[in-house]
Amino acid sequence: MNELPLTALLASVLATAAPLIIATLGETITEKAGVINLSLDGSLLLSAMIAFMVGFETGSFTLGFAAGAVTGAAIALLVGFFGIYLGQLQVAVGFALTLMCKDLAYFLGNPYSRLQGPQLISWKIPGLSEIPFFGPILFQQPLPVYMGLLLIPAVWWYFYRTSRGLELRAVGENPEACYTRGIDPRRKQILYIVIGGALVGLAGAAFSLGIKPGWGRPQGIEGLGWIALAIVIFGGWHPIRVALGAFLFAFLQVMGIVLQGIWTGIPAQVFQMAPFPLMILALVLINLLQYKGVQRWLEDKPGLALLVDKLRGAPPRALGKTFHPD
């Protein structure tokens, strides 16, 4: 640990976290509107591949990122259409798409394997990047890092400060009530699953064009989609806590690489699975807090009760359900 400068460590945590933040916030938007897009693992991979392919062929980052976003949005649209209009289980559609998109990415991406493609370089923000310590961490990063960081307050603002965002949350809580108030819940759900999917696609592009550049089988981001889904739950469907969860995971991952240098015998995958037992533990704890006994115990401990209240992120009540008008 001592050999690695702290700035480099923190900068790499930030870089690792960025695409994950974009993906988890995308899924947060989707789930907050009451739909589950379980296809994340496949979506990330396929959009990473398409983004790399387009970037490689055209040499344009803009087109690469756009292609990634469109891919993610298209997959999400499928989940939405099957789940909301065709009455199939959202979980089933998402799961089938996860596996299929992953294989589709390997299949279509085969010719682009191990090619040297375009790669985003760090973008030094003039002036700010000169600040000692913080400058190199915050202001000498590739573009997706800035995107991820800006997205956190943006999503929070949208959810909690705009009327559209209020409608989004309302649909996820009670689509029927929305219908009685003149909001078409199904249209909203399709809209937000597509937006969420587009963000997941952007995250995929951010990987293959910047953070984990290039394409191959394996690409190296396999499994991250599942982690992203878990982080959304861990973060209680709240954009800021979800982002914190992504940072935490990135930190664990970077620490894994650092620790690997110390315990050379243990493969990196062992460290990479650390978030999963943590996630399960967190979910059990959150559930435990909802027991009546625990609640009663907390009644005369206002400080603790407040903390628990903040930690307890209830899922949107209508998650996975939709409403069909007569």
């Binding site: 209020l166 309302a170 009670n174 029927e176 009685t180 909001i183 007569d326």
Partner: protein
Amino acid sequence: MQVELQQIHKRFGKNHALKGVDLKVEAGTIHGLVGENGAGKSTLMKILTGYLSRTQGRILLDGREMAEADPATAAKSGIGMLYQEPQDFPPLTVLENFMVGRDAEPDSDRDRQRQRLNDLAGGLHFQLDPALKLEKLTVGERQQLELLRLLGRGVQVLILDEPTTGISDRQKERLFGALHQIRDQGRTILLVSHKLEDVVALCDRVTVLRHGMVTGEAQAPFQVPRLLEMMFDKPPETDTRSEAAARGEPLLSFDQVSADGERTGLSECNLTIHRREVVGLAGLSGSGQGLFLRLAAALDKPARGKIRTLGNDLGNMGHREFRQAGGCFLPADRLEEGLIPGFTVQDHFALAHNCGMATAKVLAAEAISQFRIRGHPHTTAESLSGGNQQRLLLSLMPPDASLALLENPTRGLDMESARLVWEHLRRQFASRGAIVFSSAELDEILNIADRVLVFFDGRIVRDLPIGELDYQDVAAAMTGK
């Protein structure tokens, strides 16, 4: 705004719920819509707000026809409804609940909206904290908020569906005051209720629905007996009861039992039911009788008090133990709770009697002929008609049960089938055990039961042997008079 409904029909599949309803409501009045459960009141109102589509009929607003609409367009024409099941968002704050909706121009300025909410609340003397989460509010407060929201949207026609269920007396007073104020502003109010007390106190005019048809209208001041006559079928003359046998030992006792659930909960319930009693639970749906039966069957746990069933303390018993002790429970929700969709008649018998398929098939065939179920042993539960599902449910009851708790046992059956079912039930259970049943039909209770408990607002307000009962009195007690 004047509202006129002409020849409204509504079919749900085979069920003809509304059979040509005409209704005219003048502007600036409070108009009551009364009737038993299932009379079609809510359905009619949901058609007016565009929540349900109509099979046939016309809606006129100030004489102009309103096309088929969804709630959004109905809202733009000035119609708003306070639904019986609160249509709001418990995890969101009061202010956010006030703001959600496309039925008016969205305004995301929180300060302005908070001001509007406070102004509206002040005008009707409601006190609501805009920053509080809705789930912390009582049902009555949630309703006040929804009322304010609708008023804020400028509704001209306000529909309230059972607004006084589950709210406190003080909140009810406030609500009635507010409604008079709203009426006096020239808006039209439609009040759906089965509580005559409320209707008498509030309405200028009343329309009575029964079985999807209008059976009468009346103008204030109302004569309650007249309204009751229009709401319920006439009290029957004949009595099918055999001579009541002597009571046996206690089978079910409630000691200071209170519980949460349904909408009203159950408060301080005390009573004992003995062997060879047939007890009818009267009350409008959701008055506590359903909860009473579920508590007795160990499907719900009381918050306070003690329940003894079949000689056992129910404290640590589950429904499984209740069954083993000789109890059985018949739920009202046939396909939700009683039967298993996708399972055939004979599958159900195998499940209920813990027997092989061959035996189950024989049992199923016997039951089909005995209970006149229209179906075969291999017919699935969901493809049976409602009445036949009910017969199947009845035929699945363990024949040796000594305490039968039945929720609406003859729901969906015609008169003759119901008579046969009761003959069977009496023969099967009444001699050896006790029957406790609820029914939406008051006549049935008066016809069948030896003892009647009347539920109102989560309390037992009458507990009388049939001989001391007066039809008018029960009907009035049910509606809180």
